[in-house]
């Protein structure tokens, strides 16, 4: 099937404005008759729920944490992009658009990226109006910094806590609507199934994580804002609860999954220290503004203290290989370059899996105080975890699984192929192509929630009779039975291995076979091994406790069960995409210098997968990508 992304036609500069005008509106007095279920209250979900509530819709919002303020968006450190051109360094909506399309290695839809770039400026205005304390200069105006993949300074930030501050802004907006009564909040509530009636998404089945009660919530549209799935690698920079569950359940009910294999490995994480480890910690990419990345030129030097390695024996490999972007080369390129150095035996630290991130020169240039002012909290965090002082010895970094560019397939209106099911933020596949540029995820989450969904959802609702599906619908009853059934099954197995053992095993397999580098062999091997782990899981997992109570093991078990199915889909997608692009590096396809080699003739499309059954091969649908404004070109950062 050839999929239609419903991109507007005509000049790109007018595409969003024209589309916005062409879409139908819902009469203000009718809005309160519609109920919208928003799952997830991170940047995408909280901003969507707040904006929709403000417009007068009836909103029910759900999250698995105890409060919307704890969504994983809170962890974003570095910043948020916008094309304001405040620093007068040549930025424009067009340049942000250009950088994003190129950064994504020409695997995203032009119109969507244009819209994102256009509304990016409104986001900054909105957040400042909410009282988000962005960094300012002494004249009182907003300050910016640079991020990977861009040569202009367009990243707005709030110390090293940008995600936190933006989320608190969106959280305050949703809190205001909760008080006003337009949004009803259900914290500690996990969505475990999507209910589809006559082909349309009309309800969700949830588990109350405190009481264990399983119940259905009906509505007129469902908006999934449930974030990314990088915990399929077990160790990642994501929060412990991040899962694929909500979108995977929707996929099993018919929603297509777009580009699942496009995953991002972030170059600046604290290297792993031991097997017991439960997560990897990111240090903001903004550190690369002032930190220089290097490894010893000679293998023998790797075990020596860094300060005993003379200047001429240090290889500043990013500056050497990519002179125009240097340490600010995009993430996929920097990550691969680090892996390459370590694979060649020049890595530093435990296990040789690390490269230096060195502030010596900038401390010399600006003084320790300036560096402390800019990145103090990151240095502190590094010291807490590694017991090393980054001002005195260079920090060590290594790439780690970080961001999911893939997600449910959506059209230009952010609606999936299931009418009534909208997907926002990291949970959808749109805008980032095969690689996301730094500081663009926060931008996308808020763009979707504040400035896209309020318009596009009306276009669906205008043709929908409110309250079509009630809780007594047979599909709702069936969904409740299914969810109760799998909960019971998990509790009954009483095997010998813990949930953690299974997700660790899966994650290791995924990292080794579908991580920073992939090959036909590694992927084929993973596809053969995953079903066996899955089978063992359903025979031998041990989940203690009961269903009708607060039971964290049961929560983990459910999420792991979904990862065990989803993992196979990522590998299949990576296997079928017989090219390299962005974060997807197939070792078979590289230039002589090791750069990723794209194949536009055969693969300039979105891969959207249709679920056919757990042990069956999914069906591939394609949405061809057209590049009318930015010409397909080899992506070079040299």
């Amino acid at each position: 099937m050839i999929l239609d992304g419903k991109s507007p036609t005509g000049p790109i500069e007018q595409s969003w404005d024209k589309h916005r005008f062409d879409m139908k509106l819902v009469n203000p007095s009718n809005k309160r008759k519609y109920k919208i279920l928003v799952v997830g209250t991170g940047l995408a979900g909280a901003s969507a729920a707040a904006s929709l509530g403000e417009l007068g819709y009836n909103v029910e919002a759900f999250c698995y944490q105890d409060s919307p303020r704890r969504a994983h968006s809170i962890a974003a450190q570095g910043g948020i992009n916008a094309a304001k051109n405040y620093p007068n360094d040549g930025d424009s909506i067009y340049r942000l658009f250009y950088d994003t399309i190129k950064g994504g290695d020409f695997r995203s839809r032009e119109a969507d990226v244009w819209r994102l770039s256009q509304v990016s400026n409104n986001i900054i205005d909105q957040c400042v109006a909410q009282g988000v304390p962005f960094a300012r200069d002494y004249s009182g105006y907003l300050d910016t910094r640079s991020f990977g993949g861009a040569q202009v300074s367009r990243t707005f930030y709030a110390r090293g806590q940008t995600g936190q501050q933006l989320l608190l802004g969106a959280y305050s907006a949703i809190s205001r609507q909760i008080k006003a009564g337009s949004v009803k909040l259900f914290p500690r509530t996990e969505m475990l199934d999507l209910v589809v009636v006559d082909g349309e998404a009309k309800a969700i089945t949830v588990r109350d994580l405190i009481t264990g009660e399983i119940r259905v919530h009906t509505g007129d549209a469902v908006v999934l804002c449930t974030g990314g799935y990088m915990n399929v690698f077990y160790l990642s920079t994501n929060a412990m609860g991040c899962s694929v569950t909500a979108i995977w359940k929707a996929h099993k009910k018919g929603a297509f999954f777009g580009n699942p294999c496009f995953t991002q490995i972030h170059p600046t994480c604290i290297p792993q220290a031991g097997d017991y480890q439960s997560k990897l910690t990111l240090m903001s990419e903004s550190l690369r503004n002032d930190g220089r990345i290097w490894v010893p030129k000679k293998k023998e030097d790797c075990g020596k203290p860094a300060n005993q390695i003379p200047e001429e024996d240090r290889d500043y490999y990013l500056e050497r290989k990519y002179p125009s972007f240097g340490n600010l080369a995009p993430r996929d390129i920097s990550s691969r370059a680090a892996k390459e150095q370590c694979d060649e035996g020049r890595g530093v630290g435990p296990g040789g899996r690390g490269v230096y991130l060195d502030f010596r020169d900038s401390i010399k240039r600006f003084g320790e105080n300036v560096i402390r002012e800019r990145y103090g909290n990151l240095f502190e965090m590094y010291e807490r975890i590694t017991d090393e002082n980054g001002y005195k010895v260079p920090m060590r970094i290594y790439p780690a699984p970080h961001y999911a560019m893939g997600g449910l397939w959506v059209d230009y209106n952010l609606m999936s192929n299931l009418p009534g099911l909208f997907v926002l933020g990291e949970a959808n596949f749109s805008v980032h192509g095969a690689n996301r540029l730094g500081a663009s995820a926060l931008m996308q989450g808020l763009a979707d929630g504040y400035f896209v969904i309020p318009y596009t959802i009306a276009n669906y609702l205008k043709d929908t009779k409110p309250g079509k599906v009630k809780a007594d619908n047979p599909e709702c009853a069936k969904s409740i039975e299914d969810v109760k059934g799998s909960t019971k099954k998990l509790l009954a197995i009483n095997g010998n291995k813990t949930v953690t053992e299974f997700i660790r095993e899966l994650g290791t397999l995924m990292w080794n076979n579908c991580g920073m580098a992939r090959s036909k062999e590694s992927l084929t091997e993973a596809i053969a091994k995953i079903p066996a782990i899955r089978e063992e899981f359903w025979k031998n997992v041990k989940v203690s406790g009961a269903g009708a109570e607060f039971n964290q093991q049961l929560e983990n078990a459910g999420r792991t069960a979904d990862f065990l199915e989803f993992a196979e889909l990522i590998c299949r997608d990576a296997l079928h995409r017989d090219e390299s692009c962005g974060g997807h590096f197939r070792v078979e396809h590289q230039y002589a210098d090791g750069e990723a080699k794209r194949n536009d003739a055969d693969y300039a499309y979105v891969a959207a997968w249709e679920f056919k059954g757990v042990d069956k091969e999914p069906e591939l649908h394609k949405e061809p990508l057209k590049f009318e404004n930015i010409h397909l070109a080899v992506r070079s950062y040299k």
Binding site: Q126, V128, Q161, S175, R176, K179, S278, D387, W511, K542
Partner: protein, 267 residues
Amino acid sequence: MSAQTSEHKTMSVKLIVWRQKGPNEPGRFETHVAKGITEHHSFLEMLDVVNEDLIKQGKDPIAFDHDCREGICGTCSAVVNGVPHGGQKRTTLCQLHMRKFRDGDAIYLEPWRARAFPIIRDLVADRGALDKLIQAAGYVSCHTGGVPDANSIPISKPDSDYAMDAAECIGCGACVAACPNGAAMLFAGAKVSQFAALPQGQVEAPERVAAMIKTMQECGFGNCSNHYECQAVCPKDVNVKFIARLNREFHKALFKAKAGTFTPVGE
């Protein structure tokens, strides 16, 4: 990813941990030993080890709240040896590492204890009352869209830094748990001060502070009597000066109410 656990010395610690099945069940201390812990384990990773053991023995693992494990989401919450978050300065429990303990140490572990935070299970407490405080008025009432250009209202760097110092609060509730009165003054003070320092928050400043103070009382939080335990345990170093600011803003609001230029909510 390769690992090098063999390089590290291991230790054992004895945990004396609060177990409670539900809000209305009686609680009690239980003792467990965590073995094979290295100095690089975080406190929560040490608890993971204990839990894996308990699960294998067919026992209920210790329930504890956590999510980001990076010190920023504010989810983790337990009192270690009598101190919320375990006593390392500017550090949440998930960022506390076992190198701060010694082989053979006995460690007491309890949930946040405060009237406004009922216990859900073991170390998990319900901190929904903090959300209620924000819902009362912890926001600037601007609609989506239709706001002025961000640079149209310059804000001096000191003001913006002051607002950011206050805004750093992660809403963990340690301040409440540490306070002998179970007060949420540091939390509320931080929010009120953030907006009080910015032009955006001015118009509804009196309503905000009045509504938040009223809600604090309704939720069962106590009052500040200047113990400063809150600041001592706050993982983000939120300063008690924000409590003073809260009081000042409240008095300003009362003054305005007297002058008839402002009517507190609900009166």
